[in-house]
Symmetry: C2
Subunit: 415 residues, 2 copies
Amino acid sequence: MNHVKCGRCVRCGREYPAVPNLTNCECGGILDIIYDYDRIRTVLTRETLKNRTERSMWRYRELLPVEPETPAPPLRVGWSPLYEADRLAKELGIAKLWVKDDGQNPTASLKDRASAMAVAKAQEAGAHVIACSSTGNAASSLAGNAAAAGLQTFIFVPSRAPKGKVAQLMTFGATVISVQGSYEDTFELSKQAIDRWGWYNRNAAINPYLSEGKKTVAYEIAEQLDWQMPDFIAISVGDGCTIAGLWKGLKDLHAVGLIDRLPRLISAQAEGCCPINRAIAENRPWEPMEENTLADSIAVGVPRNADKALMAIRESNGLVVNVSDAEIMAAQKLLGRTCGVFGEPAGVTGTAGVKKLCEQGVLPKDATVVSVVTGNGLKDVANAIKACGEPISIPSDMDLLLRAFDEHGINADVK
Amino acid sequence: MNHVKCGRCVRCGREYPAVPNLTNCECGGILDIIYDYDRIRTVLTRETLKNRTERSMWRYRELLPVEPETPAPPLRVGWSPLYEADRLAKELGIAKLWVKDDGQNPTASLKDRASAMAVAKAQEAGAHVIACSSTGNAASSLAGNAAAAGLQTFIFVPSRAPKGKVAQLMTFGATVISVQGSYEDTFELSKQAIDRWGWYNRNAAINPYLSEGKKTVAYEIAEQLDWQMPDFIAISVGDGCTIAGLWKGLKDLHAVGLIDRLPRLISAQAEGCCPINRAIAENRPWEPMEENTLADSIAVGVPRNADKALMAIRESNGLVVNVSDAEIMAAQKLLGRTCGVFGEPAGVTGTAGVKKLCEQGVLPKDATVVSVVTGNGLKDVANAIKACGEPISIPSDMDLLLRAFDEHGINADVK
């Protein structure tokens, strides 16, 4: 990889050759992949991109840590739609809002970007098996992307994992090990197994290549906006890998001259679980928190990538905002009603944060904002059922329909 | 619409001007939209398409029944991925198989193509409200696509409709009327309400424009295969609108000279509900059937578009195949394991049909086949749970893991 210099520890600065199975630094710090931007800027321009037909995350190969001959994994990951949300912007009272719907990915979440990268790197490493421990989107995206590439997966889930998610994994042919115990117990057994059998490791806070997959969401936003960056990009934050990837992507673009200003990040967490935002707000090291939120994909009390996330928010002069579960579910309906986008609770937390910052007067009225929806609402229909209320229920009778519309204040005679 | 001649009844041949709110013929027959192919072939060529950047169903505007100035509705519908399924082809023993994953649409089914068309035509008609009666993908796709365009929806569902589906509709801001009674009762009340308030009607067997949206799946398959058509295209069949739309699209392409041969259709239905296939197999008019299948999206005992579906299958010299629920669920796992594609039961019925025709020796070994997956498995996780079995369940202990792998015959030491 001529365009990649090394992996560099974000804590101690130690550098490692960028081999495919890179993991954490000896000091325990996570690595960052370092590129040769001077070389890349000579080959990757707005013009070269304009003429490219590839519509997936692999459109940006010059900025991805893979060998030129490594095949793109089969599933079509990335190039999710960016919607102009004019009606929603108006309701919120800001100048311009776009919604990046990353629930439109093969397994319905942004995590597909990381898992596709894991598959590519596993193939470079000559591995035939990839493993991870997770109950959520990381697991399903790994299982799906690996299956499409003909790789086996071993996935460790805590026994509390929802049956629907386990079923999805098993449909993709994953070997699923349900561990009777906590998430920590699950992680520990997966670690031992990975060490023993030498499986390729897909854990976002250990494998530094994964956020290099996630960063492609930033490239797409920039190109879809014709390189005119918004003032802010809002995203939900759990273990920190996604916001770190988003920031890495933005910095890449700036370094190679594709954009000329960097947006500020908005880090949205759940009130019931916001260790990263608390660290920023109180300007002190992060500390573990309870995991009290229904937004399961960001219910991470011990964020595994806090280092990179905190750096990203600080470097971007970012904002932090915590939202209640009620505000999250209200944002789900707001996005559905105004944009036709159905996001999972964690997926819409960024939008809930934007709404709150508007209400608090923190975001100026002339602000331009992109809100990233990180996962599809079909992943968690149970919470949508709780939030949406009851439909009108009547027998098949026009008089009863008229009366029901009247009682509910519904105007059927819209012209 | 200079490129559209009229709507013509498929039963009696009577012609109607192509106004936006066209419904059935006076004789009760459904209309077909008739194009001026001579005009279209002068403007739509392989070359013009090659230079087009639009990646959605609106890429093919010259063949769509909309005015030039009608805006494309906001959600990105269509241009779903077509995957080369080499491993699956090998398992089935045929030369070549591609999987068209139409679960990768905004509301996760092929129905988005019809609903986007409904939104475009409703806007041409100056309507602000669209209505339909449905429990399934038609309803959710209408609610989502209309919400994105700022149109209101009134959706009538029978009271047996699953809560998850109702929740999705309500998240999109639809006014949902749950009718205490059968589907017929529901349809009847919706019809009265539509007549009374003049809402735009999104019912695929009444509104002839909807299958004109669905036909875009054929255009994409052809272009994604660089206009080299396969021997067969397999798809699941419920009320008949989708296979009719697929065939219309293929005939369009042939008529304007974009393809030079027509594939044969494979109509796949559930054994427990196969009125269309039975009519073909026994060469007699269709008759109603019970609705005994877990593939709810194609559990249609009284198909509302049998006329067009039967014509499509016969004209294409098509094959019919009925599969059991067990075969459907096996196909779901097969697609997941070999392709990383998670389809709902009705979505994978076409693939189940291909598998059965291979096993029966009906499909020749040198056959090339496209199988359309019409909806995402996340729409119906309950059935996947039933089908997938149980994961390995153990405490966090390496010795127990070794024993479990041994008992299950799992080789963890894959090189």
